[in-house]
Amino acid sequence: MPVPILKQGDVLIVSLQSELADDELERLSSKLSDRVGSDRVTGVVIDVAALDVMDSYATRMFRTMAQVTQLRGATTVMVGIQPDVAVAMVQMGLDLEGAMTALDLEDGLDVLRRDHERSGV
């Protein structure tokens, strides 16, 4: 079941409804990168509010996704990380290493807008 990717203005929005298997994450990453190019967007919001758990693979995957889309010309923001997930990740020593995060979709769009303005593009 492919994950729907929505477009809103200059931003792609992905809302994960459930945990994705490793291969599904990889496919999502490729698809996002493709869409960044074809839709000519400058930002990506990945909403993980529905996820109860994020393991080390998923964390690495999201980090990679952000870096890839960056190279393709878009900034990625991850939103909706739940408190328990955040605490678990910190305790396991997982780090998103500079990938941008925000509280929720609204905040995420706000962050992207300001980032876009700042970069002067």
Binding site: A86, V87, T101, A102, L103, G108, R114
Partner: protein
């Protein structure tokens, strides 16, 4: 909470014959002993009001029931029933505010007439008299131990209740403006409380959509490595969620302690005073 009744004095007795004799003497002289008990307790500061509050027919009912309960214990062996009842009574009296030491007056008021009754029936030089006295002591000792354990159980329950209440009081999370929360920490922070604080704070971030939380620790007397690590963890987790935590109110002493124990200042956003922290937060939010 399971309570094992200290029936040891009675178990140690190992003299069923004397125990039965004790019961028989008590039973035969029941009214006399009960009347004496009532008279003494009516003049006792703490028991008096409890006795006055009891209507006479209820008092008679309780007396009769108590007598039957003890009979069932000694004669039919229903001791656990007896001690369970006494334990529950103890809890009730503890709650009503009756001091534990008052029960010693009740025991004395029982012993005096009982010994007199035993003297009436037995020869003071006889071995049976000695054994009956020991049996009566084992009984009253066990009764006091049971009441004592009931009082302790009740106190423990109150302490736990208060601890829960304290924990809830202890972490008010206040909204200063949109997207800004303040959490003034006061008092001793143990690891259970620290865990609770982290939980409450992060959930408040989600619920109130706060992008900055100012945690003021002016009221925390001693910040040790456990507290520092919790603050760092919370800061990291909040950052992951898209929020920033600023810690204000670290005293010079606490700062020196933290450096000494090796806490990396770069892992925390800190500022000396609350006002500075709020100004910083406002700037961050208004950018």
């Amino acid at each position: 909470m399971a309570t094992t009744f200290p029936t040891t004095p009675l178990e140690l007795l190992d003299d069923p014959e004397a125990l039965t004799a004790f019961w028989q003497i008590y039973d035969r002289n029941f009214d006399r002993i009960a009347d004496h008990l009532m008279k003494v307790l009516s003049n006792h500061a703490e028991f008096a009001s409890l006795i006055d509050a009891l209507p006479p027919d209820q008092m008679l009912e309780q007396r009769t029931a108590g007598r039957e309960r003890l009979r069932a214990a000694v004669v039919d062996g229903h001791w656990s029933q007896y001690w369970n009842y006494l334990h529950d009574e103890g809890v009730t009296y503890a709650r009503s505010g009756l001091g534990f030491s008052s029960w010693f007056a009740a025991v004395t008021a029982f012993r005096e007439p009982f010994i007199e009754a035993a003297l009436d029936e037995l020869d003071i030089t006889s071995d049976m008299f000695r054994r009956v006295v020991l049996a009566s002591q084992a009984f009253t000792d066990t009764a006091m131990a049971t009441l004592g354990s009931a009082y302790l159980d009740e106190k423990q329950r109150v302490i736990e209740e208060q601890q829960d209440a304290l924990r809830e009081l202890a972490t008010p999370i206040l909204s200063l403006r949109e997207s800004l929360l303040i959490l003034p920490l006061v008092g001793v922070v143990d690891s259970e409380r620290a865990r609770q604080i982290t939980d409450d704070l992060l959930h408040a971030v989600t619920r109130d959509r706060a992008r900055v939380v100012v945690v003021d620790i002016t009221g925390v007397p001693a910040v040790d490595s456990m507290v520092a690590n919790h603050l760092i963890q919370t800061t990291d987790a909040a950052r992951m969620m898209g929020a920033t935590i600023v810690v204000s109110g670290i005293s010079t002493e606490n700062a020196q302690t933290l450096v000494r124990i090796g806490v990396d200042p770069n892992r925390l956003n800190t500022i000396a005073d609350l006002r500075g922290a709020i100004e910083w937060a406002n700037q961050l939010l208004d950018t």
